[in-house]
């Protein structure tokens, strides 16, 4: 196996009661990378993470950590730490007691100094003697993070660590967590169902659906060049056209036609922000609804029986459209992404 890979998975499969929660997953996670497992709930991302941590064992397939096969290695002997969804802090221990837990087991020297150092890194200096039950959600999250990284594991697993926090706190912590990961240069495997969060934070993302990995790539790859219809639908919004093309013109089943370099029976997807509204050329349509959102406007159009969504940047360049108006929508042919049916 490659030395640059901290975690490799080959054909990992796990079933619960006949249902395949994780199905033939193969991944290579690089050293020091911020890697996200993204998917809807029940897609197998948490199970996959628990297999890496050792809390579940795969029915078949191989998991290696730093080149070593992890088959039969119990969780406490894996050089992997986890930040649990609800933090799982020990309520009978203080903040310092929680952080010292792993250090004491490892018989680490200078425990007090290392606790102070870990707390400083998560901006909680001076919190040593606090009871964890008195901390706010954001503070508990930081303590969980400090507890997990203080022993210097090879890989850190994070199970939706931000999902229990309110939106504003979450946004702030995203940037902080990313900075933290860069400073530590530690491999982070981040489980989330929030596509915006995954796009904003990750070096690479694996999009998961029904136990399978649909696509692995950098955030830009996933968004700009989705490999499957599921990846395109789950990450960002899109307008989907099913039909067939001859290499020049694409005809949809409901009778629309536009320029596209697609051949055969495929799906073409256009992101809402790549569409322009201008009377004249393009697909004729009627404005159904305009939702003002400050930085942009979401415009719902109806072309025949089909609904289209257009995201119009509030940059003063485009003319304002009114509900009920008849207009036309168009896009550059290269913005029509071709997906398999």
């Amino acid at each position: 196996m490659n030395d640059d890979h901290d975690v490799t998975l080959r054909g990992v499969t796990k079933s619960f009661g006949g249902r395949r929660a994780v199905n033939e997953v193969s991944l290579d996670i690089r050293r020091g990378e911020f890697f996200s497992l993204l998917g809807p709930s029940g897609c197998g991302k948490t199970t996959l993470m628990r297999i890496i941590a050792g809390f579940e064992s795969a029915d078949s397939g191989v998991v290696t950590l730093a080149g070593k096969d992890m088959a039969g290695v119990p969780p406490h002997k894996r050089d992997v730490n986890m930040v649990f969804q609800n933090y799982a802090l020990f309520p009978h221990l203080s903040v310092a007691g929680n952080i010292a837990f792993g250090l004491k087991i490892a018989n680490a020297p200078d425990i007090e100094k290392r606790i102070a150092g870990a707390l400083a890194k998560v901006n909680l200096s001076g919190y040593e003697s606090r009871a964890v039950t008195t901390l706010s959600g954001g503070e508990q999250q930081r303590v969980a993070l400090a507890r997990a990284v203080v022993t210097g594991p090879r890989v850190l697993l994070l199970d939706e660590p931000l999902s229990a926090l309110d939106l504003k706190l979450r946004k702030g912590l995203q940037a902080e967590l990313r900075r933290f990961q860069r400073e530590l240069a530690m491999t982070f495997i981040f489980v989330t169902h929030d596509q915006e969060e995954a796009l904003a934070m990750s070096d690479r993302i694996a999009v998961m659906n029904q136990g399978r990995v649909e696509q692995v790539g950098a955030p830009e790859d996933i968004y700009e060049r989705p490999a499957t219809r599921f990846a395109a639908e789950f990450v960002g919004a899109g307008n989907f056209f099913e039909g067939s093309g001859d290499g020049k013109t694409f005809r949809t089943k409901d009778g629309l036609s536009f320029d596209a370099a697609a051949t055969g029976e495929v799906v073409i997807m256009v992101r809402p922000e790549k569409m322009q509204i201008a009377s004249g050329a393009g697909i004729p349509c009627r404005v159904e609804e305009v939702l003002y959102q400050g930085a942009s406007r979401s415009i719902l159009l109806k072309a025949g029986d089909r609904r289209l969504l257009v995201e119009d940047a509030n940059d003063g360049a485009s003319a304002r459209v009114r509900v009920g108006e008849t207009t036309a929508v168009s896009w550059r042919p290269q913005d029509g992404l071709v997906l398999p049916r």
Partner: protein
């Protein structure tokens, strides 16, 4: 409004005065009689207190040792099995304690096991097991599995996770179970003599003073000491519960 509240409280207050305050006062008065003071000067009294204390400590400890794995196992079962197993734990209560003790004696006799302090302890442990298992079960069942996973994730072996996470977090159950076994065992009578006539405990002595020797003064003095011990222990327990901030 206030009048109605007082009317509501009248019956229970009268009940408590009639059946708790007056008897306790009478008991205390009898305890400080000449008979009572003489009983306290007898070495056999303190021997019996010591024996009772020793038997109560050993039985409580054994009860805890036996009950913890049982409670742990039940808490890990599926809800259907849990219900059934808990039912089986409580089932012996449907039979009278004396009947159960007779049955146990019939089992111990052929083994040549009865008529010893050890047999008394065995009988006490089996009688009081449910009082230990139930509080332990309820506190183990409440323990989030995540915390054990977190401990293992941080490098703790299952044994270490048990001692550093499970035991401290189930301390309220351990304390409750110990109190529920220790206090009744300390004052128990009848059961020990059934198993071994030569191993009476303090409760038997109190019974003897009141029923056979008609020496209520001595009986009251011993009862009062037992009550003070019990109240002190319960007080310590409730303070401990408060400082833990759990349950």
């Amino acid at each position: 409004m206030k009048g109605r509240l007082l009317a509501l409280l009248a019956a229970p207050t009268a009940w408590l005065i009639l059946f708790l305050v007056i008897p306790t006062a009478a008991l205390a008065a009898a305890a400080f009689s000449a008979d009572g003071v003489r009983a306290l000067a007898e070495p056999v009294t303190w021997l019996l207190f010591w024996r009772s204390f020793r038997i109560a400590v050993v039985s409580t400890g054994l009860c805890l040792l036996v009950s913890y794995p049982v409670a742990y196992f039940i808490a890990g079962c599926s809800p259907r099995w849990r219900g059934l197993l808990l039912f089986l734990i409580v089932l012996p209560f449907w039979t009278n304690l004396l009947v159960r003790t007779y049955a146990l004696k019939f089992c111990l006799d052929p083994l040549g096991w009865s008529n010893s302090e050890a047999a008394v302890v065995v009988a006490l442990v089996q009688s009081f097991l449910p009082f230990m298992i139930l509080p332990l079960y309820s506190s183990i069942e409440k323990l989030p599995k995540r915390l054990l996973e977190a401990a293992q994730d941080l490098g703790a072996s299952p044994a270490r996770a048990f001692w550093t996470v499970t035991v401290p977090l189930t301390m309220p159950g351990i304390a409750a179970g110990c109190i529920l076994v220790f206090i009744p065992v300390l004052g128990i009578f009848a059961l020990p003599e059934f198993i071994d006539e030569r191993s009476p405990m303090i409760g038997s002595q109190i019974n003897l003073y009141f029923m056979k020797n008609s020496n209520p003064g001595a009986g009251s003095a011993l009862t009062l000491i037992l009550m003070v011990l019990t109240i002190t222990l319960t007080g310590l327990y409730s303070r401990f519960k408060k400082s833990e901030g759990l349950v």
